[in-house]
């Protein structure tokens, strides 16, 4: 019997009746939990010093993971509900810890609670939090706060053309790695004299090396052959120059992956005329924003592409283009594909590939084969129609699912 199984049996014995029985006192539960974690860690993977291996956060009780869920604004809450229901339907061993962040409040308590929850659980799934840009600068973007506090330095977005989705370009398969914490998003601004505002764009060697290393590792893991760094070093010679230098340095350590560079305006031009030439793209924060949105638009829109934010210790999954969708909120017309694919990325991260594969296959077949499209893809289906179709697809493959 493995150590872990023994401990689970022990905890079950102490709590008669199994999961529904008398709960242990909270402290004892937590202590047992930590003991299990500790045992797992020492028994299997050494956590210290590993930066890129996807070690899932330790499961708490009997193999069930706890994941923070931040519904967000706009279409976020309804999509978060759909994810929760679908997971329950598929008997996925994930419990969601719901943390509501009210983005209209100026106090930072809500977001701090969310951050604490993510530190505890290690993984999160979120909708976009709206930022009212008419508020004074002391109110920082909540999404940005999450990313910088948790040091989620890499944003990964995989844009792929899907058969059945009508777009102007075909055969696009681009992976975008975007630096997520510094660059233009440092939020360091000041008004030196009334009417003159300076905004600082910070590029550091450490972060540039880190993101470049992440990119090359990811390329290797995913069989990518070429990385294109996007920059504007002809104008911002020191800033983007440093970024490029770091990328080149890291590239020299990966001779099996080709590396080239492209200026951002040329890159966007190439993307709209011939996007098939790109394999993987790597860039600082702002250009990443532009390029990822262009690519998402090219493959069919914000409703289709999931995004992942990785840090050394935490991972956060969301819809790739981070839209709130305020205008279509609560109308049952949002496209749930991006959020569902993000939840599949979450399951991959938690090392639950069977569930991930099941949900992903059902979601993609609904878009590509059944062609059940919501309004953003030119169809007339509602969100619930799409979800129903996905459920049917999952049920038809035969795994045990909860009865509705």
């Amino acid at each position: 019997m493995t150590l872990r199984a023994a401990l689970c049996a022990l905890s079950r014995a102490v709590r008669p009746g199994g999961c529904g029985g008398l709960p242990l006192s909270r402290t004892l539960q937590v202590q047992l939990g930590f003991f299990v974690c500790g045992a797992t860690i020492h028994a299997s993977h050494p956590r210290q010093g590993s930066t890129y291996t996807n070690i899932p956060p330790p499961a708490r009780y009997g193999g069930r993971h706890t994941v923070t869920l931040i519904p967000g604004d706009g279409i976020g809450p309804e999509l978060a509900n759909h994810v929760r229901e679908l997971f329950w339907f598929c008997c996925v061993p994930v419990d969601f810890e719901l943390v509501n962040v009210d983005s209209s409040l100026t106090a930072e308590d809500d977001i701090n609670n969310a951050i604490m929850s993510i530190r505890r659980n290690g993984v999160a799934l979120k909708g976009n939090l709206e930022t009212n840009h008419n508020l004074p600068p002391s109110y920082k973007s909540r999404n940005n706060l999450l990313r910088t506090s948790l040091d989620l330095y890499a944003n990964v977005m995989h844009c792929q053309s899907l058969p059945g989705v009508k777009t102007r370009h075909r055969n696009i398969d681009i992976m975008i790695i975007r630096e997520n914490t510094e660059g233009e998003y440092s939020s360091l601004e000041h008004e030196s004299v009334p009417g003159v505002v300076e905004c600082l764009k910070i590029i550091t060697r450490v972060n540039s090396l880190r993101i470049a290393d992440f990119a090359f590792q990811t390329a290797r893991q995913n069989g990518r052959r070429r990385i294109t760094a996007v920059h504007k070093a002809n104008i911002m010679k020191l800033g983007d120059g440093l970024f490029l230098e770091c990328c080149k340095e890291v590239a020299s350590g990966y001779p099996d992956i080709a590396f080239d560079t492209l200026i951002v305006d040329n890159a966007t031009m190439q993307l709209v005329s011939r996007p098939q030439q790109f394999d993987m793209m790597l860039m600082p924060n702002l250009y990443g924003n532009v390029v990822s949105n262009v690519c998402a638009g090219l493959v069919g829109g914000p409703g289709l592409v999931p995004g992942a934010n990785h840090g050394e210790h935490y991972a956060l999954f969301e819809a790739g283009t981070r839209n709130t969708g305020r205008s279509i909120a609560n109308r049952n017309s949002a496209n749930p594909t991006a959020m569902l694919l993000a939840s599949c990325l979450l399951l991959d991260h938690l090392k639950l590939p069977a569930y991930a594969h099941m949900i992903r296959r059902a979601t993609l077949s609904t878009v590509t084969e059944t062609r059940m499209h919501t309004a953003d893809l030119g169809g007339q289906a509602s969100t619930s129609d799409v979800i129903k179709s996905i459920r049917n697809a999952i049920q038809s493959t035969g795994p045990l699912t909860q009865s509705i």
Partner: protein, 313 residues
């Protein structure tokens, strides 16, 4: 009107920077004088050799004449197929400050800081120009592109100025949109945009994105408007040294810039004639230059345009 074709051949781009008495780099004084007199210029691509020791020529021109607005109308060309049809928008980009202020420094070893500068005056000036342009060219809406959710103060200031100016131009619809939303929507449906006004970096990226939508820099005109009524119109492609002098170049970009120039000067009917002739030639596809998919020489292309213009009279 054949003047214009000969005018194009004359433009050599042989203006090089010289060091003035103050030790600052500047363009030769006779060039500056002639510009001050005529106020309007047409420019072909200027090469900046790397490590030339002097700053880029384009930058010098911009600084000398205070060219604060870069205007790039992007209209789909019938006959030159791209995946995007019916594009008809104008990008107006602030040309003097923003992310391209050039103020950068190394704070400590390994940490670099670039400064993005936004000032009230420049923002107001560009907003006013955008609305004036919209009014003069019968455009119905102006959209300000920004990232004020992240860069609250700087883009916030830009936005506020745009809103203030919008108040005085009630006949033109004013909207604001985040940069990422604009990019997303632009590649899905560019017909929803009309006039876009934005700070320097976003303008650079978006104007090239729009140029890519209609077919690239070889067919995109561009104009730089300065203070004191100065305006320089140019083609934004490179110098293409490999085909220089071989009669292979595509003059469309420069010709369309010249058309913009005529419109700016108020000579609308001449502009319309040349533009129609140019588009007709491209649509007919009989005498196209190599980059447009044909096999003809540059001179044949222009001869065809000239012939059409004459036929129109």
């Amino acid at each position: 009107l054949k003047l214009f074709t000969t005018l194009r051949d004359d433009l050599q781009g042989n203006v090089t920077a010289i060091k003035g008495p103050g030790g600052k780099w500047m363009i030769p004084p006779d060039a500056k004088e002639s510009m001050d007199q005529s106020k309007i210029g047409l420019k072909g691509p200027l090469k900046t050799p790397i490590a030339a020791g002097h700053p880029s020529m384009n930058l010098l021109l911009r600084k000398t004449f205070d060219l604060y607005a870069n205007v790039r109308p992007c209209v789909s060309i019938e006959g030159y197929k791209t995946p995007y049809t019916d594009v008809n928008l104008v990008t107006i980009r602030e040309n003097t400050e923003g992310e391209y202020s050039g103020i950068e420094h190394v704070i400590v070893d390994g940490v670099v800081q670039s400064i993005k500068l936004i000032t009230e005056d420049a923002s107001r000036r560009i907003a006013e120009y955008a609305f004036e342009y919209a009014r003069n060219n019968q455009r119905s809406s102006v959209t300000a592109v920004h990232k004020a959710n992240i860069m609250r103060m700087s883009d916030g200031l830009f936005l506020r100025k745009c809103r203030e100016v919008a108040e005085t131009y009630k006949d033109i619809k004013f909207t604001e949109m985040y940069l990422d939303t604009v990019c997303l929507n632009m590649v899905q449906d560019p017909t929803q945009f009309d006039v876009l006004v934005m700070p320097n970096l976003y303008g650079d990226i978006l104007s090239d994105l729009c140029a890519g939508l209609i077919g690239g820099l070889g067919v995109t005109p561009s104009g730089n408007i300065g203070a004191n009524g100065v305006a320089i119109f140019e083609s934004v492609h490179g110098t293409a040294p490999d085909i220089a002098g071989l009669d292979m170049a595509n003059p469309t970009a420069l010709l369309l810039s010249a058309v913009m120039m005529l419109r700016h000067m108020g000579l609308h009917e001449y502009g319309k004639k040349i533009e129609t002739a140019c588009f007709d030639t491209i649509r007919d596809k009989k005498v196209l230059t190599k980059d447009l998919g044909g096999n003809s020489k540059c001179s044949e292309f222009t001869a065809d345009i000239c012939r059409r213009v004459v036929d129109m009279d």
